[in-house]
C-alpha cells in the first residue's frame, strides 16, 4: 500500500513536475542528539501532542526562497490543523524565540518553556533542479528527531504542494492517519460568464474545475463551452467523469487531466447522467431515462462504454448512484413511493432494493463514506431549502450537518471520511464548502460565480 502510494507520487511527479519524495530520508549533517526515525511524539496528559510549526528556514537569502519558506510554514500549519490531530503553540509567541538558522541550532529549551511537545523544523534550499526542502519533527523533551524527510523537485512554482506532502507524511507516521492535504476537489462552475450558443435564452456555460483540497489553485479542466456538470474523480485521481451537453443530449465524458485527452463513455440520442466510478475504476454506474415513459433507471458499464447492463428496473425515477467502498453495493435515490428516498441494491442488481432513509420527506444524492466509517451522507429537504445529513449504516442514526443556512446539497466525502464537501447558498450564490463529519470547521472554498456538484479525489 505504502509502495503503491509512493509509486503514484513518483509517477505523477514525473508527468507534471510535482515535488518528488525521496527515500530513505537523509540524516542531517550533524545533530545535537542522535536522530531516531520512525518514532512518534507523545504528549503530557494524554491530549493531542502540542506542536510548534514556525516558518521554514531559508538556506539561501534570495527573495524567492525566503517567500517559499514562509508559505511552507503557513500551509503546513493549515494542513495539520485541518485534521485536529495536533494542538498548536500559537504563532504569535514564536517571535519570542530566536530563529533557528539550520537544523542544528534549535533552541529546544525555549520551545520547552512554551510547553511544546513537538517542533517542526524545515529548511528550504535552491538547488539545480529547483527547490530542496528538508523537514524534521523533533521531540522537544528528548531533542530527538522522530521524523525526517527530504523533498525535492522542479516545482518551485507550487511550494504549497511540498507542505501538503509533509502534512500527509506527518499524519501517517505520527498519527496513523491518511491525511487529505494532497487530495483535490472537482466541481462545476459558471464563473467564466460565457453564454451558451444556439439558444435565445441567457444561459451560462458551466465548466469543470479542479482545486486543491483547501480551495487553492482553482483550475479549469474543460473547454467545451456548454453545460458540463456532476464531475466525479476516478479512484486513481487521474481522470474525471462528468455529464456534458456538448452534443445537445447529456452524455458521460471522461477527461484524463494529466494527458489532456477526452473519452466518450456514452453517445447517441439517449440521455445519460451522473456517472459514479466503481472503487476499482473499471466501471461506471450511470442514470438514464432511455427506456422512456419518464422512468429513469441505473445502468452499469465499463469505462470504455462497453458491457452496458441495467442495474435497476422499476417504473419510477432511480438515480444518483454511489458505490459502497467494497464495490459490492450501490446506493441511489428512488421516488417509487413518492418523493425520492435513499435505497441500497447489490452491485449485481440481484435482489430487492433496501430503503435506507425513513424519516425524510425527500432524500437524494447519497454518498457512501470510506472506511473506517460506514455512513451515507445525503441531501434532505428540511424546509424551504435542503440540508446535508449523514446516516450511520449500522445504527441507522441520523445526524444533521447543516441547519438551514441557505440551501445545502450535493455532499461528497473526503477519502479519509472525516470531511464532507457540499454546495451551499448561504453566502449568496452557490459555493463549495467543506465541513468536518462532526459538523465543525465550516470553510468556504469558492467565491467566483456559481460553483456546485463537488467531488473529492481519493488521492
Amino acid at each position: 500500500m505504502k509502495h503503491s502510494i509512493l509509486a503514484g507520487i513518483i509517477a505523477a511527479a514525473t508527468l507534471v513536475g510535482w515535488p518528488r519524495a525521496q527515500q530513505p530520508p537523509q540524516p542531517p549533517p550533524t545533530t545535537q542528539q542522535p536522530s531516531e526515525i520512525g518514532a512518534t511524539i507523545g504528549s503530557e496528559g494524554g491530549g493531542p501532542p502540542r506542536l510548534a510549526v514556525p516558518d521554514f528556514i531559508a538556506l539561501s537569502t534570495d527573495a524567492e526562497t525566503v517567500a517559499i519558506a514562509k508559505i511552507l510554514g503557513q500551509v503546513l500549519w493549515d494542513d495539520l490543523n485541518f485534521e485536529h490531530e495536533f494542538a498548536f503553540i500559537p504563532r504569535d509567541v514564536y517571535a519570542s524565540i530566536p530563529k533557528a538558522t539550520s537544523l542544528v541550532d534549535v533552541p529546544f529549551d525555549r520551545w520547552r518553556e512554551l510547553n511544546a511537545d513537538g517542533l517542526v523544523v524545515g529548511t528550504v534550499q535552491k538547488v539545480d533542479t529547483g527547490v530542496k526542502v528538508e523537514v524534521r519533527l523533533f521531540d522537544v523533551r528528548s531533542r530527538r528527531s522522530v521524523f525526517g524527510k527530504e523533498y525535492s523537485g522542479g516545482a518551485a512554482a507550487n511550494p504549497r504542494r511540498y507542505a501538503h506532502m509533509v502534512s500527509d507524511d506527518l499524519h501517517l507516521t505520527q498519527r496513523a492517519l491518511h491525511g487529505v492535504a494532497q487530495t483535490r476537489l472537482t466541481f462545476a462552475s459558471d464563473r467564466d460568464g460565457e453564454r451558451m450558443k444556439n439558444t435565445v435564452q441567457k444561459r451560462d456555460v458551466k465548466e469543470i474545475y479542479i482545486a486543491d483540497y483547501d480551495g487553492e489553485r482553482q483550475t479549469r479542466v474543460t473547454v467545451n463551452g456548454t453545460l458540463n456538470v456532476f464531475p466525479r474523480w476516478s479512484p486513481d485521481g487521474r481522470s474525471i467523469a462528468y455529464t456534458s451537453y456538448g452534443k445537445g443530449t447529456p452524455q458521460i465524458l471522461i477527461s484524463n487531466i494529466f494527458q489532456a485527452t477526452r473519452e466518450e463513455v456514452t453517445r447517441g440520442n439517449d440521455e445519460n447522467w451522473l456517472a459514479a466510478w466503481s472503487p476499482d475504476g473499471t466501471k461506471l454506474c450511470i442514470a438514464s431515462p432511455r427506456e422512456g415513459h419518464g422512468y429513469t433507471n441505473l445502468y452499469v458499464l465499463n469505462r470504455d462504454g462497453s458491457g452496458l447492463r441495467k442495474l435497476t428496473s422499476h417504473p419510477s425515477i432511480n438515480t444518483s448512484p454511489t458505490w459502497s467502498p467494497s464495490g459490492t453495493q450501490i446506493a441511489f435515490s428512488s421516488d417509487r413511493t413518492g418523493n425520492p428516498q435513499v435505497y441500497v441494491i447489490g452491485a449485481d442488481g440481484v435482489g430487492q432494493a433496501q430503503r435506507i432513509t425513513t424519516s425524510e420527506s425527500y432524500a437524494d444524492k447519497p454518498t457512501w463514506s470510506p472506511a473506517p466509517y460506514n455512513e451515507i451522507a445525503y441531501t434532505a429537504r428540511t424546509g424551504p431549502g435542503n440540508d446535508v445529513k449523514v446516516i450511520d449504516m449500522a445504527t441507522r442514526e441520523v445526524r444533521q450537518l447543516t441547519f438551514g443556512e441557505g440551501s445545502n446539497e450535493s455532499p461528497a466525502f473526503a477519502p479519509n471520511g472525516r470531511h464532507i464537501a457540499f454546495t451551499s447558498t448561504r453566502a449568496g450564490k452557490k459555493q463549495i464548502f467543506t465541513i468536518a463529519r462532526t459538523g465543525k470547521d465550516l470553510k468556504q472554498l469558492t467565491r467566483s460565480g456559481n460553483n456546485e456538484h463537488p467531488d473529492w479525489s481519493a488521492k
Binding site: V200, V229, P289, G294
Partner: protein, 190 residues
C-alpha cells in the same frame, strides 16, 4: 414588424429634433443607426394603404402567417408561438391550464408541419440538482405524450432535461419557482 417600429422611432426622433431646433436649443448630432438589413423584409416602411380600394378576399391573418413562416429560428424562439407548460412542485402532471396550452401548441405544430421541436424539461431550485434531472425529463415526457395524443408525430419531438441548471427566472421566491418548473419548447428546424 421590427422595421416598421424602427421607422416610427426614427420619425419620432426627427420630429423631436425639429421641435428642439425651433426652440433654438443647440442641435445635437447623433449618428443615425444603420439601416436594418434583412433578406426577407424591405428596408423602407411599406407604402400607405390605398383607402379607396375595397378590401376583397384577403386570406385569414396573412401578415401573421407570413411573419411566422419567414422569421428566423432565433426570432421564432424569442417570441415563440409555442408556449411553455408549467408544473406544480415535485410534479410532472399536466394541469388543465397546461392541457389548454398544449392544445394550442398542437394546433401550431399541425399548421407548421415541417417544424422539429425540442421539449426541454426544467425544475425550480428547491429539488436537488441530481433528482431534478430525472424530474425535468418526466415533465418533458408528459408534455410530449400529450402532443402525441393530439396527433403530433413523436419523431418531431425531441426531449432533453436540464434539471435546475438553467432557471428562466433567477429569483428565489415562489413566483420565480413557478416560472422555472416548466416544459419549454424550442423550434430546432423549420
Amino acid at each position: 414588424m421590427m422595421v416598421r417600429r424602427i421607422a416610427v422611432i426614427l420619425t419620432a426622433a426627427a420630429l423631436a429634433t425639429a421641435v428642439a431646433c425651433h426652440k433654438k436649443a443647440p442641435p445635437v448630432a447623433r449618428p443615425a443607426p444603420p439601416p436594418p438589413t434583412s433578406s426577407t423584409a424591405p428596408a423602407t416602411p411599406p407604402a400607405p394603404p390605398e383607402p379607396m380600394r375595397e378590401p376583397t378576399s384577403v386570406p385569414a391573418e396573412p401578415v401573421r402567417d407570413d411573419a411566422i413562416a419567414s422569421a428566423s429560428l432565433d426570432d421564432l424562439n424569442r417570441n415563440s408561438p409555442l408556449k411553455p407548460v408549467f408544473y406544480e412542485l415535485d410534479s410532472s402532471e399536466v394541469s388543465p391550464a397546461g392541457q389548454k396550452v398544449l392544445d394550442e401548441n398542437a394546433t401550431v405544430l399541425k399548421r407548421y408541419s415541417a417544424w422539429a421541436i425540442t421539449i426541454e424539461g426544467h425544475c425550480d431550485e428547491r429539488g436537488t440538482a441530481e433528482y431534478n434531472l430525472a424530474l425535468g425529463e418526466r415533465r418533458a415526457v408528459a408534455a410530449r405524450a400529450y402532443l402525441v395524443a393530439q396527433g403530433i408525430s413523436a419523431d418531431r419531438l425531441r426531449i432533453v432535461s436540464y434539471g435546475k441548471e438553467f432557471p428562466f427566472d433567477p429569483g428565489h421566491d415562489e413566483s420565480a419557482f413557478a416560472k422555472n418548473r416548466r416544459a419549454h419548447f424550442v423550434i430546432t428546424a423549420k
